[in-house]
């Protein structure tokens, strides 16, 4: 029985990938947790941008929505939403787009629109929001997902946000010059696109996770890098800061996580 949870390991592993020089377009949930953990630990000057127009936000607690007042009050500036998407995202000012995935395939294509047929969906998901352009306008994209066969699937029902396309070649074909998904962090492992094929392969296993755990939890026939490493466990500091942040958040939102 380890002294941290799998979701905590996921957030910590994602946070470590961010640096002081990054300008990060932040989604709500795990991405926001990871970005703020990084800002509160090794990357104090990491620039966080939320699609509500807040640039350089430094929230004291995790926002429940991307438009909480705390974001605007702690930001360097708050711009209109058209300016945010035109000057800042489309303008190529964002180094890293950080997305969560409800459903994702081996090429990092994300579906947050529908499960089943679009016109007669079995589950209607929220939709694209900022993600379709985040996926193609940011320098690169980091993705977090909870590792299960329902989330990491053989084929997504709908491509809401482009990874490398159905065959791994779509970005090339469309002449898209940004990198796309360069890192996927789940609660079991980290994955990166394989040179040449752009298929996501397992790079590091989180402590205590076996290959078969990952194979069983992945909806496609998952492959592993030649050298699979182990993710360093969360440090005491990382865990303390993350848990303080979530405790502050819970107190502030009256039961929110």
């Amino acid at each position: 029985m380890s002294e941290w949870t799998a979701p905590e390991m996921m957030v910590v592993a994602a946070a470590r990938a961010l640096t002081n020089d990054d300008v990060c377009f932040v989604g709500i949930g795990t991405p926001s947790e990871a970005c703020n953990l990084a800002r509160l630990t090794h990357a104090p000057h990491l620039t966080l941008i939320y699609e509500s127009g807040t640039i350089g936000a430094r929230p004291d607690v995790l926002p429940l929505s991307i438009g909480d007042g705390d974001l605007s009050e702690t930001a360097v500036t708050t711009v209109s939403v058209p300016e945010m998407f035109r000057y800042w995202l489309q303008g190529g000012r964002i180094t890293i787009g950080f997305l969560g995935a409800a459903q994702m395939d081996r090429f990092g294509n994300i579906n947050t629109t529908v499960i089943g047929d679009y016109d007669r969906p079995s589950v209607r998901l929220p939709g694209g929001g900022g993600a379709p352009e985040i996926a193609t306008s940011c320098g690169e994209v980091f993705i977090t997902a909870s590792h299960s066969p329902r989330a990491l699937v053989e084929k997504v029902d709908f491509i809401t946000s482009l990874g490398f396309g159905r065959d791994g070649r779509e970005r090339e074909r469309l002449g898209i010059t940004t990198k796309g998904p360069t890192l996927v962090v789940t609660d079991l492992c980290t994955m990166r696109p394989e040179q040449g094929t752009n298929e996501l392969i397992v790079e590091n296993l989180h402590p205590g996770v076996s290959r078969s755990d990952v194979i069983d939890a992945t909806g496609w026939k998952v492959r592993f890098a030649d050298q699979v490493g182990e993710t360093p466990p969360p440090t005491v500091e990382e865990l303390e800061v993350l848990r303080d942040l979530k405790a502050r958040t819970e107190a502030a939102h009256g039961g929110a996580s």
Binding site: S52, L64, S80, V81, P82, F85, R124, P126, E170
Partner: protein, 269 residues
């Protein structure tokens, strides 16, 4: 020239069955009171435009006000699904809901194009997504200088745009502060505009020469509605009621519980 009227009067004068209506406010200053008044007045067959339908449209859809929804992200922020929206899309309850779906970037650009008097907006968007396969809402234009193909979306031009703001002065000039979203674009893109405000003041006291102020002569009706954005928030006036956004998940999940809640908290007020 903005006319100061009651909320009841503003909605009765400017919102009619079948209208294209936008109640905007991007995760801030969401005009809930105006939405509730539209529900009370029993409007039907509305085409509702809003980037994030949020609880306000979940309620209007659940009460059968809408025939069509134009949106870009239909969830309960940080909580999960909008159950009344899902019930309408998945089961046609209480009435079938036609949807026109965009990305945030395209919606924001469509608002800016509407405010700019342009017929369409230009963006480098939708690349490689299945969204481009849904009807003809996304088209393309070719750059006459570089030959690049770019996405085009039609400008938003609602019959009426409704927003909530912090305050107005006696001339009807309106201040929006904090997350300003697409409030100004909504007023300027709409054929008519209704604004609800927390208060009316003698001096607007905009903090900066460049504060977002919407001149009174671009607004048709202003209604003073303190708390008009609750459970959303008004920066500097009251915070977002995050707990209610979480409670809404359970309230809206069940049709009967939703109906009871609306009767008690919206209709019967």
């Amino acid at each position: 020239m903005a006319e100061f009227v009651s909320l009841q009067e503003a909605i009765a004068s400017w919102v009619t069955d079948g209208d294209v209506v936008a109640l905007e406010g991007f995760t801030h200053l969401i005009p809930f009171a105006a939405g509730h008044e539209i529900i009370r007045q029993g409007r039907r067959d509305l085409t509702l435009i809003r980037m994030t339908p949020d609880l306000v449209y979940d309620q209007m859809i659940g009460m059968g006000c809408a025939r069509k929804l134009v949106f870009s992200w239909g969830g309960n922020p940080g909580v999960g699904s909008l159950h009344r929206f899902r019930d309408a899309v998945e089961n046609g309850h209480p009435v079938p809901l036609e949807i026109e779906e965009h990305s945030h970037a395209a919606m924001a650009d469509a608002w800016a194009a509407g405010a700019s008097g342009l017929p369409f907006a230009l963006l480098r968007g939708y690349r490689g997504t299945s969204l481009t396969e849904l009807g003809s809402t996304v088209r393309s234009v070719t750059c006459p200088f570089t030959g690049e193909e770019l996405a085009a979306v039609a400008a938003h031009r609602p019959d009426v745009g409704i927003i909530h703001a912090q305050r107005a002065d006696r001339r009807g000039n309106v201040l929006v502060e904090g997350i300003v979203g697409i409030q100004k674009e909504t007023v300027l893109a709409s054929a008519a505009s209704v604004v609800t405000v927390e208060e009316v003041v003698d001096e607007l006291a905009a903090p900066s020469l460049n504060s977002v102020v919407i001149p009174g002569w671009t607004i048709d009706a202003i209604a003073v509605v303190p708390g008009g954005a609750r459970p959303s928030y008004a920066h500097g006036y009251y915070p977002r009621d995050n707990s209610f956004y979480q409670e809404w998940d359970a309230i809206s999940r069940d049709r009967n519980r939703f109906d009871r809640w609306m009767q008690q908290n919206v209709i019967g007020t």
